[in-house]
């Protein structure tokens, strides 16, 4: 009987609690929802946290869904429970824009966050050499052209095999594992570019895309490329004990360890804030987020959050995001973006 009563009362209590909290189910209009790229996620979360602590608004909620998945959610509609912002490590595709428009998302405001640069570094005392994307491809791909129109598996063991001008040291490159976004970007921006310097491969891109992908995007696994984990600090530490090794790290790590390592210039360009920001350094890409204009009037904290993101203290040249590894835009570009975004937001914001 005791249990009967206990169960009865606990059910009543739970029903009251649930009913109570259900009645408090106000609309979620006060909290920004962000989805999208895992590359932008670390920056987004830092801004969101500071925004939540320093303002009277709630901290935005940020999900890491990948760029494509982010657009899918972003373009699903303009209703109450839809997301306000999606992060992207590339610009929006025309097909994604069409999908958005079909679902009523018409006012898409593009905001550039900054750049993501990937650098090849080696020990400060190592013999300096300049490298091209074709050299990177020849050193790291699993299959390379044999020079007679066919393909062979890569048997270059020395840098001098790749290019006679290079020193004859063993090819040893420490880089991130396949789960890493840095590696994806490296493959896309460095390997593929190098790969496409061969005419035979360019024709392959159209005639046999899957073969093209396999040749250009597969990194050799015979020990020349060493997976050194996601931790860039670790790679830097290993480089200082091995002068012959190269490491693939994010640009910010070069910046913080300039006393220990030096960057290899690629296609003749040395990585620098300026070279990355203007795009002349090839292994770099802009990072964006997209704001749903339709939600600006509805989600009260959306505009302040975007403002906080575009604040000089955050994405500016010496903003706190640079401490987290963001390559910032130049002051001029930053200013221009800020004005453009503010204008776009205000023009949408007026119409409720």
């Amino acid at each position: 009987m005791l249990f009967n009563a206990l169960v009865k009362y606990s059910f009543v209590a739970m029903a009251i609690i649930i009913g109570f909290s259900a009645s408090m189910y106000a609309d979620e209009g006060d909290q920004v929802r962000v989805v999208g790229s895992s590359t932008v996620y670390p920056f987004s979360t830092v801004v969101a946290e500071r925004f939540g602590r320093a303002s009277r608004f709630k901290t935005p909620i940020i999900e890491s869904t990948g760029t494509g998945g982010g657009f899918k959610l972003f373009c699903s509609g303009v209703g109450k429970n839809t997301v306000d912002i999606t992060n992207a490590s590339r610009a929006i595709l025309p097909s994604e824009r069409t999908m958005c428009v079909e679902n009523g998302v018409r006012n898409i405001i593009e905001v550039k966050v900054g750049y993501d640069g990937i650098v090849l570094v080696h020990d400060r005392n190592a013999q300096h050499f300049s490298i091209t994307t074709r050299d990177i491809f020849l050193a790291l791909a699993e299959t390379i052209p044999d020079g007679r129109g066919g393909f062979v598996s890569n048997d270059n063991t020395m840098w001098s095999d790749v290019n006679p001008a290079f020193p004859s040291v063993t090819i040893e490159v420490l880089g991130p594992p396949p789960t890493s976004g840095t590696r994806d970007a490296f493959i896309e921006l460095a390997m593929e570019t190098g790969c496409k310097t061969y005419r035979s491969i360019i024709t392959l891109e159209h005639s046999n895309p899957s073969r093209f992908k396999k040749i250009c995007q597969t990194i050799r696994d015979d020990g020349a490329y060493i997976e050194a984990g996601e931790n860039d600090n670790l790679i830097i530490q290993k480089l200082t004990s091995n002068e012959n090794a190269l490491g693939i790290v994010g640009f910010s790590f070069l910046n913080q360890n300039i006393d220990r390592v030096r960057a290899v210039s690629i296609n003749g360009i040395n990585p620098s804030f300026a070279a990355i920001a203007e795009g002349s350094y090839i292994i770099s890409r802009p990072l964006f987020f997209y704001v749903k204009g339709e939600k600006i009037g509805f989600t009260k904290s959306l505009m302040p959050f975007v403002e906080a993101f575009l604040d000089k203290a955050a994405t500016g040249e010496d903003g706190y995001l640079t401490y987290r590894g963001l390559v910032p835009m130049s002051a001029v570009e930053h200013q221009r973006y800020k004005h453009a975004v503010r204008k776009a937001m205000n023009s949408v914001g007026e119409v409720p």
């Binding site: 249990f3 169960v7 649930i18 408090m24 189910y25 500071r50 203290a313 706190y320």
Partner: protein, 416 residues
């Protein structure tokens, strides 16, 4: 053993020693199995516990802030922090030194500083010296140098000198990290806590419990006491048993397509998480409850019927109270599984950076296992110990729940 003469002679029982040897081998293998599993468990727990030690402590440094600087710079937090650090540390002469100085305290310390000073103004206004003294959390890098006594490896020469100066002047204090149990998630390991995740887990468990216990027990009673035994109920039974073994990620997909897309419930909310987990635990509860009902002897029911009770009265007045301890045990074990579940929650948007604790079950919520997953993925070094500490908390939770189940069973279950 071997030199003692056995009552049955070996000669009369050929092969006896062989059978004894087989038994010994089996015993040895069994003991080995038990010990190795215990060793693995012990290793796991000791490793995690050792790693988590640092997470429960926090180091703070006393920072002096000039009042006029505060009034002048409070609208530019980062510049305010820089000027404060320059005031507190000697030799901040160039950009590199400034960077090192700012790195001495936790990232985002400017907001802490401003916050503290504002509260101080409202509460006390006591200091007449023209400066505030604020305790600020040290950065993880400095803390690891302090606690491991290897100041040299992580810090620059300048930073080492600063730390030594602070320690010499008694400006550094160490205390229990209350924030770890009360704060929400943060990108700074120094500030991250499991407070929000605990609240989120509690809300989710509440929803899961109400749904799975309510529905599960009703289903079990109906199937066991009222339903006719025909091919339909047998089919149902097979399905329920099958459902109990479905991988949890499938329930997550179901939650995504039905609860989120069809019903339009909010993403990352405790209610959706609770509903998904309720689906997952319900079969377990139904099976456990049916076993509990079956264990109530027929004589109880017959006695009730014989004094004129209706079937409903029989079940609710006599059978159910006797079966309840068993049902509760099953429910608690189901809940214990649910609280540690992550996979289905990933599908419904709970793998997200959520700082604030939810106010109700419709608010976006973070839960313990997801928090552990997020921290384990974070690149910042300090999250290693936070992850371990969160695992310890989750294990403690599970231990309490399982203990409750055992105690309930021991105390209340009747043997017939």
């Amino acid at each position: 053993m071997t030199n003692k003469p056995h009552p049955l002679s070996m000669a009369s029982l050929p092969g006896l020693d062989k059978r004894y040897r087989a038994e010994k081998r089996f015993k040895f293998a069994g003991v080995l199995a038990v010990f190795s599993s215990l060793a693995f468990l012990g290793f796991l727990i000791v490793a995690i516990a050792l790693k988590s030690a640092g997470a429960f402590q926090t180091y703070e440094v006393e920072i002096l802030v000039k009042k006029e600087k505060y009034l002048e710079l409070r609208d530019q937090p980062f510049i305010f922090l820089q000027s404060t650090m320059r005031y507190n540390l000697s030799g901040v002469v160039n950009g590199q030194a400034m960077r090192e100085a700012v790195n001495m305290v936790v990232d985002g310390a400017e907001i802490d500083l401003l916050d503290h000073i504002e509260n101080l103004q409202q509460n006390t206004r006591a200091d007449g010296l023209g400066s505030y003294s604020v305790w600020v959390t040290l950065s993880n890098r400095v803390v690891s140098a302090l606690s491991k006594q290897d100041i040299g490896t992580n810090l620059t020469a300048r930073q080492q000198a600063w730390v030594e100066g602070w320690v010499a002047n008694n400006k550094v204090r160490q205390r229990f990290n209350v924030g770890f149990l009360t704060n929400g998630d943060s990108r700074d390991p120094e500030r991250a806590g499991i407070g929000s995740a605990l609240v989120g887990s509690a809300f989710m468990l509440l929803v899961c419990m109400v749904l799975s216990f309510g529905v599960g027990i009703l289903a079990a009673i109906y199937l066991e006491e009222f339903a006719p035994k025909n091919k339909y109920t047998v089919f149902l039974e097979v399905n329920i048993n099958n459902l109990a073994t479905v991988p949890s990620i499938i329930f997550g997909l179901l939650g995504l397509s039905v609860f989120l897309n069809l019903f339009g419930l909010p993403r990352s909310a405790a209610i959706v998480g609770g509903m998904v987990l309720a689906l997952m635990t319900m079969p377990t509860i139904i099976i456990a409850s049916r076993l509990a009902l079956q264990s109530v002897p027929l004589s109880i029911r017959e006695a009730a019927f014989s004094v004129g009770a209706s079937p409903l009265q029989t079940v609710f007045h006599h059978v159910l109270p006797l079966a309840l301890p068993g049902m509760l045990t099953g429910t608690i074990l189901g809940m214990a599984r649910a609280i540690g579940e992550t996979a289905p929650l990933l599908m419904i948007g709970m793998l997200a950076f959520i700082v604030e604790a939810p106010d109700n079950i419709f608010d976006p919520a973070s839960v313990l296992p997801v928090q552990i997953f997020l921290w384990a993925e974070s690149p910042e070094r300090g999250f290693e110990e936070k992850t371990a500490a969160a695992i310890i908390v989750l294990l403690a939770f599970l231990l309490v729940m399982n203990l409750t189940a055992i105690i309930l069973r021991k105390k209340l279950e009747k043997k017939w």
